[in-house]
Symmetry: C2
Subunit: 198 residues, 2 copies
């Protein structure tokens, strides 16, 4: 139907998260009809990002500057460090302004299954960063998965002995969570972590 170039663009767009063949076609149509106001600006914005994309040498975040916008922000608490598995986790915690300290991105999680070992992650850089001093607290904000928690305990071991308080995220029922909609793992965890009623 359409030209090879338009078909290729539609295919590439349909592989983006949240898009499928139908919505990709709608996006292409939108762009074709708005060359000056939509297609042009999109190309320019993508090129600007592509040209400058770097991994932050301090924290492992992906950004267009090194140090990244998070590391370069002077309003952040320099003594508080949040360790996350992926850039997506940094965005989630930071985008909602939930954590106003510094970040450290591991770039994954330990996984025997996938053959991910400590040296494959940003763990040495974390240890040397924390060893350098100046941090009061390190929050280990791993996912509440088996591999996330394995990684969390490994990091806690590696950071033990350094003069810093190491903490982890609380686990349990999510806000609004109804018991009969929760999976077994969450219920077991919430039960295990039960506390006296204040």
């Amino acid at each position: 139907m359409a030209s090879p170039e338009i078909d290729a663009l539609t295919q590439i767009l349909s592989r983006l998260p949240g898009l499928g063949p139908r919505s990709a076609r709608r996006v292409v149509l939108h762009l074709l009809k708005r060359r000056e106001t939509a297609l042009g600006p999109l190309v320019a914005a993508l090129q600007a990002v592509e040209a400058r994309l770097v991994t932050c040498g301090i924290c492992g975040n992906i950004d267009t500057h090194d140090p990244c916008s998070v590391c370069a922000d002077p309003r952040r608490d320099p003594a508080s460090l949040c360790v996350v598995e992926e850039v997506a986790d940094l965005w989630a915690l930071d985008g909602k302004r939930l954590f106003a300290g510094r970040f450290h991105v591991l770039g994954g999680r330990l996984s025997a299954l996938e053959g991910v070992r400590p040296e494959d992650l940003g763990i040495e850089s974390l240890v040397s960063r924390v060893s350098g001093g100046g941090f009061r607290e390190v929050v280990l904000a791993m996912n509440a998965t088996l591999e996330g928690q394995t990684t969390m305990h490994y990091l806690a071991d590696r950071l033990a002995g350094l003069d810093v308080s190491v903490t982890m995220l609380a686990h349990g029922l999510p806000v609004g969570g109804e018991l009969d909609f929760m999976d077994e793992g969450t219920l077991a965890m919430a039960l295990r972590a039960r506390k006296p009623v204040a």
Copy 2:
């Protein structure tokens, strides 16, 4: 949080149809983490389309070639012409291989409210194209809206007298349409167009 370049890209993506701030962020993250396999190909595909974008001189379709892929396709019935309001309508009818003839895109519909007059649409080019001969049938595939139907009747008048059969899409209940979910207009139309049971 992110750099100005990444924020700008996120904003531009969030204005695309079907995307919002959340899904745009997910797309950006996907692209940042896959510079070689996702970001690069997307930029290249968009540039290829942007560089060649043209409106077809024959039918008004938007494509990367003129004549467009539809007009240049020799397997299509050259004697059958389908007139649509927008490129999106052409894509809908053609993408599902519902119509295998030629197309003509008006670029809108007559609208007193929006001040769209006959000379603002591709109507002269339609009349001269059909006057040129060679067409057996012209299907007026306007939307089943007030403005679409006004446009349809205007076109039927303009084409009257030419040696061609002018037809329109059937109106009525959509396939699977249940009466108590239909709007009043559809019900009225289906009633008005009622036929003897065969």
